[in-house]
Amino acid sequence: MIAELGSFSLMVALAVALVQGILPIVGAARGNAAWMRLARPAARALFVLVVVAAACLVISFLRDDFSVVYVATNSTRALPLRYKVAAFWGGHEGSMLLWLLILSFWMFAVSLFSRHLPQEMVARILGVMGLIAVGFLLFILLTSSPFERLIPAPEEGRDLNPLLQDPGMVAHPPMLYMGYVGFSVAFAFAIAALLGGNLDATWARWSRPWTTVAWSFLTLGICLGSAWAYYTLGWGGWWFWDPVENASFMPWLAGTALMHSLAVTEKRGGFKVWTVLLAIFAFSLSLLGTFLVRSGVLTSVHAFANDPRRGVFILLFLSIVIGGSLALYAWRAPKVGLGERFELISRETMLLTNNVLFLSAAGAVLLGTLYPLFLDALGLSKISVGPPYFDVVFVPLMTPGLFLMGIGPLARWKQANLPEIGIRLKWAFGVSLITALLLPLALGRWSGLAAFGLWLALWIFAATMVNLWSRLRPLPVSGLAARLRALPLGYLGMLTAHVGVAVFITGVTLVKTYESEKDVQMDIGDTVTMGPYTFKFNGVTNGARENYLYARGAFEVSRNGHVLTTMSPEKHQFVVSKGEPSTVAAINRGFTRDLYVALGEQDGSSPTAWVVRVYYKPFVDWIWGGCLVMAIGGVLALSDRRYRFARSTSRDVAEPTLSATAAA
């Protein structure tokens, strides 16, 4: 019953989405106010219907209704509650429903926070999102319904993939989808602007907060995925350039470029057409990613379904959405005007250079991910493109951009004075360089690469502080807190996000240069040392929990003779789904280092001996800390007062001047 209700709800949702997708857009073209007014209520109704369908699926899981195929293949009676809920998105069909749920959530949000937008605009935006929803609803109803029945129902389910029975599974996909799917809003704004022909700076101002919030979610989502892989896969890696990771990273790169381009368009009215194209790119990359994961075209850890039929459907959908929007772009873009003047050396140019760099990086990642497919399709040969390629290619591409991050925020709009910037930054440059050259020595071993990475990070941080100081100083209030409060949040958000990048780079540089690993055979009583730390193995105990058996190792960790803590890595063997036991590493986290112990296999030399992997990972938590700071920066930026719209206003003042109140 519940499953049928879910199906039915989706069918009604399809009808509503069709109305929402077609009538408001036609209404906007014809000036038909009644049809345009349908957009908001339709979006809200769609949201409610999809929520109902989602609830039906969750209820089916909670009731252990194994007559529903999807529940039977992704759950068992003994599965803990939180994973029964997370199992919603554990397989292909459910994850498509999650996509739809989050899309309709964004639609709902747009319907709420769009009072200040002209009616045609709202109609077109929600209309475009409605059409996207139509595509997904058709896909789900025709090829991937999570509500299919299995009669007779099995007594027990096949269990959720053991690797997914983890808190990471609860948080990572929803957060990631919020970001990914959130770019559909920026996309809809862009299409609406192309359709309506009203491409101006106000459009950019409206678009910006939606883009920033989607970007923040995506940053968090990718960060969570990386942190999860780190502790769950057992060898301390946190990024593999796997096709699915790349599929989420490319929209992030394009989205970052988009945010910076929107700044140019909002402030100076320039490059509107380019910004629109970027918005189309960002969402297109999201859709492309969705396709790649589910079509069987690439091998990946994450690959869901490998059904060519489904792949054809998604590809068709992709062609219509992306092809259609690019065709619309080709048609409407040439007619748009140029915007204001700016010199070759100016903040505008620096932001656009950021765009070129980020898009080249996204292009490089796309090239590397799809190249094996290209060669194979041309019958040329079968190659693999993995981390050695991406590491070599990606870092040099990003480096100029990272260097520019120090200079850009100090450049003036319209015309920047490079010599003046040089003077302001010379101390930052010198101090960061010298510190970077000396720090590796303090960490134990000099390394050119470490010095370079540290210099970039310190440079960004120092230049950001110079920028902040120059804005804080002339303020007519006293006290640091009051001064900070007086600065516009958009500005503070930008600084925070840039500092987040610096923290991230520090983490990556230091962990890659100074991490060490030992693979040893340990029997009871054996010790292994890593730097100042000694690990003593005290054997393995066995036991059982809800739906798995475990082997739990006991390690006593001491430093310079004093016992610090015990660490207990585990191996889980799931009773129902069998297969390889999964590894749960023991991690002792610290601000400046992680200690990481994972159990390998029993090595047979004695009944109590195991192969053990011990890692020392300095500053690895700065990687995810940096991402978190970036996301916080995004949230700060979008809380800026100028986004609290009452009515649509004329174009903003060129730049917040040094006087605190001029920002609004």
């Binding site: 060898w235 890696g237 593999f240 796997d242 091998t299 990946s300 850890v301 140029l338 204001e340 003047r341 010199e343 070759l344 140019t349 656009l352 250079t353 070129v356 760099l357 898009l359 080249s360 990086a361 292009g363 490089a364 090239l367 590397g368 190249y371 060669l375 040329l380 040969s381 079968k382 190659i383 693999s384 493109v385 993995g386 981390p387 050695p388 390629y389 070599v392 290619v393 591409l397 030992k518 693979d519 040893v520 055979q521 340990m522 029997d523 009871i524 009583g525 054996d526 010790t527 292994v528 040392t529 003593k536 193995f537 390889e580 296999e601 090595d603 004695s606 192969v611 053990v612």
Partner: protein, 158 residues
């Protein structure tokens, strides 16, 4: 006789423990070769679990191939020779770092081309933009002011 047997069995059973706590020995006989092997295996692809490196994979074939590499290295083969050995049997697929061949020029040089091309395009577009904006006709207000200024001028003796 029985006493002796008992004594011996006790020795055999307790020998591992009697050996006492020790510094755990590394996996593999020769640490230097082991490190070289693992470093190389990080750049190779496991053919069975195709999303793991040969270093990380638990698959039977991966274990066998790691052993094969160890033996080749012990015989004195260089990293290049080991790679060629594996490519002769499994093709370029086994390399995570794609070899530079005519079919992979686009792959290796593409990103640099994209970057340089992108920057060049940006530069040209900015120049063109500047030219277009400079040549742009005045809008209404600006025209009125220009005319006013010009007529002011004409009324004055030069």
């Amino acid at each position: 006789m029985r006493r002796r047997l008992l004594a011996w069995s006790l020795v055999v059973l307790t020998a591992p423990f009697a050996a006492g706590a020790r510094e755990a020995p590394p996996v593999g006989q020769d640490p230097v070769i082991e490190q070289r092997m693992m470093a190389l295996a990080e750049e190779l692809r496991c053919l069975v679990c195709q999303n793991q490196t040969l270093a990380d994979s638990h698959a039977d074939l991966a274990v066998d191939l790691r052993q094969e590499i160890r033996e080749l290295m012990q015989k004195g083969q260089s990293d290049e020779q080991v790679k060629r050995y594996l490519v002769a049997r499994y093709g370029d697929f086994v390399l995570y770092r794609p070899p530079l061949k005519s079919t992979t020029w686009l792959l290796w040089f593409g990103p640099a081309v994209l970057l340089v091309g992108g920057l060049a395009t940006l530069y040209l577009v900015l120049l063109r933009r500047r030219r277009l904006l400079a040549a742009e006709p005045l809008n209404e207000d600006q025209e009125k002011r220009a005319l006013a200024l010009l007529s002011e001028d004409e009324g004055q003796p030069s």
